[in-house]
Amino acid sequence: MIDLTDHPNLHRLTSHLVERWPDHSDYVDKSFADRTPEVTASSDRIAACILKLAPEVEGGLDGLCDDYRFLCEKIVLPEELHFRRHNRYRLSSFAEAEKECYANAPFMARYMNGLLISNVIWHNHACAISSYMREYLPSRPQGTDHLEIGPGHGLFLYFAAISPNVASISGWDVSPTSIEQTRRALHALGVDRPADLTLQNMFEAPASDRRYDSIVMSEILEHLEDPVAALKAASAWLRPGGTIWVNVPANSPAPDHIFLVQSPEHACELVESAGLEVVGSHAFPMTGATLEKARKRKLAISCVVVGRKP
């Protein structure tokens, strides 16, 4: 197994995971072999967060690791099979995803726990959150009012909360369970500044004078039937010159992914179609693949796009 002893949190998390799931050792090695030192350092910080959050989760760290395995083997694999056979995601409407996934609380809990670990283990997820931590957040102007739509596990909002240039943090989610999860996560991670967490559907948000300098939508657009409409709705809450940080996976089948982003260019087109100027973008291929290979084989790519409101 790859030596991560210089990164104690990563070492503890990956060792625990591989102890629970020995057959995953090669995958973990492959994922970390490709990482820059900066991304590995970000992953260590995320691993530290996960280790702090683990006691809050049923089954603790064992439970998180088992749910990650459940995600890989029982959730993603069947969808990957469908995607490879038919070249499209299995579901195409929000109502179907709601019925199959969102309404199934025990399933969603395991799914979300698995995704929490994926932020460390999956190469594309780790690179995307690292770029948010190292590039996007530090370059926000002093006094930034920051909103995350769909903060879920709370990691992205946590890193905004500890950014000295961020003046206020807010989160909107359509799910009371998710709002509560975010609230608990921020508390467990030691955030003592106020966080405005609101049960809010972005398409139905009541008119207000409130505006933001920065909006984050991480792994949201692929769950929606009309991502451009969502980006337009979100950008209405931006101040002129404000930015949206979008993270959307291409070619990444999952039971609640209904909008297929075909490529990093497609992700940029969505942002531009919403009237935003693309001022930055990244494409992070899945574990074990180069970007060229991921494009050629239609493998998962995390597409990060920063859009600026004119």
């Binding site: 090669d26 995958y27 492959k30 890989c72 083997e73 694999l77 069947p78 990957e80 099979l81 490879r84 056979r85 899945m286 574990t287 074990g288 290979k293 084989r297 493998l299 998962a300």
Partner: protein, 81 residues
């Protein structure tokens, strides 16, 4: 179709999926022997086999074979079935 014929048809598929023109599959070969044989490429391999042999795997059959020999046996059983 004999096992040798199945293995012969399997070779170009595996070379394409795993991006290795020198790959020579054997019955004892496992995913640990092939650098690019990860879970996603395994699914790609099985779907490519379905198309080439005109068969359809059940979901639990996708991950069942532990080596190439068992994969050949599974293909043979599907062709016979």
């Amino acid at each position: 179709m004999t096992r040798d014929e199945i293995l012969s048809k399997l070779t170009p598929i595996m070379r394409d999926i795993f991006d290795d023109e020198t790959l020579v599959p054997t019955d004892s070969m496992t995913s640990e022997d092939v650098a690019e044989w990860d879970s996603t490429n395994h699914v790609r391999l099985m779907v490519a086999i379905e198309a080439e042999f005109g068969i359809r795997f059940e979901t639990d059959e996708i991950t069942a074979p532990e080596n190439v020999g068992q994969l050949v046996d599974l293909i043979a059983a599907k062709l016979a079935g």
